[in-house]
Amino acid sequence: MAQVTLKNLEKSYGPTKVIHGIDLEIKDKEFVVFVGPSGCGKSTTLRMIAGLETISGGELVIGDRVVNDMPPRQRNISMVFQDYALYPHMTVAKNLGFSLKIAGVSPSEIETRVADAAAILGLEPYLKRKPGQLSGGQRQRVAMGRAIVRHPDVYLFDEPLSNLDAKLRTQMRIEIKKLHQRVGNTIIYVTHDQVEAMTLADRIVIMRDGIIEQVGSPREVFEKPNNTFVATFIGSPPMNLIDAHVASSNGDPVLKLGDGSELSAPARLRNTLEAGKAVKLGVRPEDISPEGNALPTAGEIVQLQLPVLLSEDLGSEATLFTELAGSPVQSIMYNPRTVHAGEMLSFNMALDKCHVFDGESLRNLAA
């Protein structure tokens, strides 16, 4: 069993606090992804779990042991580093077997386990090479192999794909997912790439400035973001936020935009909206598409006439840049045709899929 528990975990460098008390329970065999912008503390948290950074406060439990003051080697974890950290003077086989050699495993056992790991990752032809003679993808695989030969309780991945090109990244992402299905161990994975987070995670932990903003399955954080930060961080292109305030029309709350136009409020929120309140309307680009180029949606549809300022054609879809009441809005156009700048299009907005956030606290009013 290898659940990992973070209890009010803190990290300070001198007087500067960088991790402000994190609570999280990671279940056995769970794939958890920490995601957030640079400097949010996700790598520091991972390094604290690894034992490479001291813990300034709180408690870290791996399995049923409090490991706060244990050196990395006693924690039964293994780690894949962003720059792979392969030992340049050792062959691939030696790199893979190094931790076993240190642990005093017999040479024959080391050979078997290295061969197993090499077979899983397709590294057999390269065992006698040195890291300098391998391509980026191969090095990445060696780094993963080095982690799996040890049969650790927990795997830690620190932005392992960020040095690879886009195509290789997608490929390795699938291999990591397969690896998890195969070995089934607890994995804690750090990335700044929300696509990696969405595709890999059982649960996503979204961090900002040393605190956790939201924890949930990829679908949960996508569909029910706690606040505007999560809403705009998860999803690509990001969610559009339009400033508005709540007004009343015939007793029903409506959203009054900056240019004076009014939108009806999403039905599920009508009871929670108080007149006069400043809010932000959140619309995902796929929920505001040109008429005839939209996905079929249920529920109330609002039609808007908006000018196209710019379009980016991606082949299967296009991203249109437009403006609603002074706020920039991105829209996805499915089955796109060529759209010219300045063209007026009729957009369908799926009102029931929209989010409304508090204008001050920026929290989701539905949450």
Binding site: R73, M79, D83, Y84, A85, Y87, P88, P131, G136, N163
Partner: protein, 273 residues
């Protein structure tokens, strides 16, 4: 468009390089001509008599072999010790956290600015009282001590480009600091160690002051070289011979290890770049 490399840099560099070779040619010329011929300059062509008299005389009159072995012993000890210990100290100063780390480093670096001449008299008293005068240790110890400052700094500088993640990986793989140092850092620090070794060997091999003061029976080559020029006879030909003998070993070592001066660390741990 591919243009041919211009020829002129070759000529310019060639003639500059020639300037460095001239003294070497001069010394060789002096060593194989009778002294009478070279007093008006080694470059004179007429008359030119080839003779190995100077070589024979130096060999017969001076304990060249003995001095060579003394030099070798002193320079080897004085080189091996810093090469072994400077990286360990550099590792500790760079990666470990211990009390008074900065102050200790400052004290160590301080030795950088202490010239040989300052320590001579205290050392002489010390060696006399401890009976170390005329033993190798009387020069090896100050050589090692004085070299430690720059050797530690040199390796520490090298380590600042050493990827931190390799150390982290070693820790995660189960190494404590000793094993991290021996298995991971040391094998990748060979360039820095070679640089320390070569520089230290050359300096201690050529050093004159300390061996001259502390070694009597066990004189080293440079000390012996200095005794060849008598007060009344310049002995130019014999000095040339001694110079050649003294510089052969450093020359060989330099030729053998010079690639370590240009080679970079190559410790990019497999990341792109």
């Amino acid at each position: 468009m591919i243009t041919q490399t211009p020829k002129w840099p070759v000529y310019v560099l060639g003639s500059v390089a020639l300037v460095w070779i001239i003294p070497l040619v001069g010394i060789i010329a002096m060593s194989i001509r009778p002294e009478g011929e070279i007093t008006s300059g080694w470059w004179t062509i007429e008359p030119f008599t080839f003779t190995l008299d100077a070589w024979r005389e130096v060999w017969v009159n001076y304990p060249i072999g003995r001095a060579f072995l003394n030099s070798l012993a002193v320079a080897s000890f004085a080189t091996v010790l810093p090469v072994l210990f400077a990286p360990a100290a550099a590792y500790a100063f760079h990666y470990l956290k211990f009390p008074f780390r900065r102050i200790l480093l400052l004290i160590l670096v301080n030795a950088f600015v202490v010239p040989n001449q300052v320590v001579i008299i205290p050392l002489f008293k010390l060696w006399r009282e401890t009976g170390l005068i005329d033993t190798y240790w009387s020069v090896v110890i100050p050589f090692v001590g004085l070299s430690f400052a720059w050797a530690v700094l040199l390796v520490k500088n090298f380590l600042s480009n050493f990827p931190r993640s390799l150390i982290d990986a070693a820790q995660v793989d189960g190494c404590g600091h000793l094993r991290t140092y021996f298995f991971i850092v040391l094998p990748n620090t060979i360039t820095a160690m070679a640089a320390v070794g070569i520089l230290q060997f050359m300096w201690t091999w050529n050093s004159l002051l300390l061996p001259m003061l502390f070694l009597r029976e066990n004189a080293t080559l440079p000390v012996m070289l200095s005794t060849i020029s008598g007060a009344y006879e310049p002995n130019w030909d014999q000095r040339a011979v001694a110079t050649i003998i003294t510089s052969i070993l450093p020359l060989v070592i330099f030729l053998f290890f010079q690639k370590y001066f240009s080679a970079d660390g190559k410790n990019n741990s497999g990341s792109k770049g």
